[in-house]
Amino acid sequence: MRAKHARGQSPRTARAVYESGAGPNMTPMVDVVMVILIFFMASAAILGPEWFVKSSLPVRAIASEPLTDALPPVQLKISLDGDRIVLKYQDAAKGGPVSEPITPDRAQLAAALRTLRERARSERRDIITLIIPSADTAYERVVSAHEAAVQAGLEPVGIAPADLDVRDEDVKSLDGSEVTGGTSAASGDGPQASPDPAP
């Protein structure tokens, strides 16, 4: 017996198929693929890209977690009231609680927070941040302040319930004895990233 292609036809190799011009018809396939592509793009635009910022709730177990050989964590409060943003923390170098008003600007807030974090890091401390919004602050501003804190590398960040009364005495001291005065005082010139001795 001879093989089938002995009748004079060439064997049906891939090359033969290609050269004969047969094969999958591309045009309708491309049409369908384009429609599907556009559909996915449209649905992605509707659903929108979403993500989240992680927020720690001030559960007592977290705040009082014993830190064995590290210094106690610093507590920083970001108080939001309408357009006003005030940072509150204890500072032994300035002798007591500090209230540092920040212009309502995300970049300013992030810069101020970064300064504080650098300071805490040089003392090998963690900062526990708590955002305390007033009742009429828009949720957007709360998230924006939260974002600034995350951008500055502060973690954990918590949000206080509106009626939570955190007294200034509860704020642990930012007990830095060799602080170079990196944070500007509550004078309103805004925070500076590096200590700049006045001439």
Partner: protein
Amino acid sequence: MVLIVFYLIVGRLASQTQDERGGKVTLPTTAVGTIPQGDERPLIITVRLAAQGEGTQPGATGEIENAPRVVVILLDGERVKDVESLSALLKALNAAERRVHLRADRAIPYLAVAPAIEACRAAGVASLRLVSQQATGNEP
């Protein structure tokens, strides 16, 4: 034909997702964030403004007084009666062990969002995820 069926299925899925998320919410925009991963389904708490006429119906639930507009709270797309029942539901659903996403409208005053956060805290949720929209980079 295949395309029509395909569209029908995807359309239904999309609207289902929308319902689950508790309707349309204008989320705040952030430039930082984490993209949700894993297939564990989070609990979704939605705090949004009531739709036209929604809050004024007799027996409307989830209203918050003193807010300029009526605000509704939803858990996994279902309206909850009040903050106490939200807290009870969260406890029943073992929220402390699960991921909890908070989807709140950007324009809502914090006063209206705080009870939902407080309910999470009462239910033992230590970490809440504030869902936001990714900033596109055009905004400052």
